[in-house]
């Protein structure tokens, strides 16, 4: 590590590695810091992405794809299964491999990647962020930079140190546990989502197969409901009941921001991206694609341009916030409104919805019709439903 870089990025997840690669491509000298000993580990994620979304941001490599998903099934509290008619198929990723490759792609553009580098504070000069304080292999370093980018995940402290409000209320975090489960038997082309206050209050439970005998199974529940019974207890019960023979190969906990669109994601000399900027979709908790779009198409380039023009002020970096709002702001705000309505549905509402939908012709069993039926008491949300799920933003 040198004592100066144009840009320092804290966190080598998909957002951080992507912003690093793009900024370096635009000529910036970039340092990418990861606190853990290994990039991509542990996998705190359900690992599902839509095909269209992934292809928008990257040319998928075969080694990233553990499995192709042909259809989604929603399972109501009473067990009614609705097979969703949906055109966009999906992938179950090998997130460890995916994150590795994104960091390597950054390194190939000249980014300096350092693991086991714990950032514990920011340097400030003249009302601007001017670098980071790092603990690396027992030694303390102060490294200067024109821009610091916080890609430090849901627990982002980089933003807080710069005066941005990144801490979440209990209703805006999903608290999650995910297990890699083997010795089970599955149909590998289906992704299953279970909705029920008994299984995952204020959230959902997922079963994402990697092959016929291996799956990423997890759940997220609203932070409001975790005090009575923890996500780990909910998931352990489900797996014991549904897959009594299961062998659990990994157990990983995590949190997902399911929050309002974050308007203020820049300060003088500082930008936030990915979960640190609450960019995950508040309805689904999915954040990989949004993080990469924000970092690739916008933040990485804006940061590099700011370096070239030698203006890293909040007003210069605000170009990123504005462009991101244009790309995803309305969609995010709609998803948040839907989340608020959906998570108030009772198990009776969900059972009624599943019963109504499962009587319709298969090609009418669309996600839009499901939400329309579920939220029949909320006619004002119908335009939101259509726009969110047709991806017309």
């Amino acid at each position: 590590m040198k004592d100066y870089y144009d840009i320092i990025i804290v966190g080598a997840g998909p957002a951080g590695s992507t912003a690093a690669r793009i900024a370096a491509q635009h000529g910036a000298k970039v340092l990418l810091l990861e606190k853990d000993r290994e990039i991509g580990v542990p996998v705190r994620c359900g690992e599902a992405v839509g095909e269209k979304g992934l292809k928008r941001v990257l040319e998928p490599r075969p080694e990233w794809i553990a499995n192709r998903i042909e259809a989604v099934r929603l399972i109501a509290p009473d067990g009614t299964v609705v097979k969703v008619h949906h055109e966009d198929i999906g992938f179950i990723l090998d997130r460890k491999r995916f994150d590795y490759d994104l960091a390597m792609m950054a390194a190939q553009q000249g980014v300096k990647v350092v693991t086991k580098a714990y950032v514990y504070g920011l340097l400030k000069e003249n009302d601007s962020i001017a670098g980071v304080k790092v603990l690396h292999l027992g030694k303390h370093f102060q490294i200067k930079a024109k821009i610091v980018i916080g890609a430090d995940g849901v627990e982002s402290r980089v933003g807080r140190w710069a005066g941005l409000k990144t801490n979440l209320g209990l209703k805006d975090i999903e608290t999650c546990v995910q297990m890699t489960v083997s010795n089970i038997k599955l149909e590998r082309s289906y992704c299953d989502f279970y909705f029920s206050a008994k299984l995952a209050p204020g959230g959902y439970l997922w079963v994402f197969p990697k092959n016929e005998h291996l799956a990423n199974i997890g759940l997220g529940i609203s932070g409001e409901f975790a005090a009575q019974k923890s996500p780990l207890e909910y998931l352990t019960e489900f797996i014991e009941q549904k897959f009594p023979e299961a062998a659990i190969l990994t157990t990983v906990a995590g949190g997902v921001p399911c929050a309002q669109f974050m308007e203020k994601v820049v300060a003088n000399g500082l930008m936030l991206i990915g979960d640190a900027a609450h960019q995950a979709n508040p309805m689904t908790g999915g954040g990989i694609i949004q993080s990469i779009i924000a970092s690739d198409e916008i933040a990485g380039r804006v940061a590099a341009e700011a370096i070239q023009k030698n203006d890293v002020s909040e007003s210069a970096l605000a170009a990123y916030a504005k462009e991101w709002d244009k790309v995803n702001g309305n969609s995010h705000r709609r998803s948040y409104r839907l989340k608020e309505a959906v998570y108030k549905l009772t198990d009776d509402d969900l059972n009624r919805t599943a019963a109504t939908i499962s009587k319709k012709a298969p090609d009418k069993q669309t996600i839009i019709n499901i939400f329309k039926t579920a939220l029949i008491q909320h006619p004002k949300l119908v335009p939101d439903i259509i726009k969110v799920f047709l991806g017309s933003d």
Binding site: K35, D36, R37, P42, R44, K116, Y118, Y120, G153, V154, E155, S156, R157, R160, T166, N167, L168, G169, L170, I173, T175, C176, V177, G223, A226, A227, S230, P231, L232, E233, T251, V252, A253, G254, G255, P257
Partner: protein, 57 residues
Amino acid sequence: MIVIKNDLCDFCGTCVSVCPVDVIELYEARLVIDHEKCTECLKCVKVCPVRALEIQG
């Protein structure tokens, strides 16, 4: 005082994300709470996915 059960903690940072006073340090495999600045609002205890935090005393 909030007590961390190290054998349960997964170092995921969910507690850090809800802390209103930013008193939790998360290293790769170590969690540290600044008890002097902690207001004991218990958000971290409530949100922990694996019940690794507990109020004592």
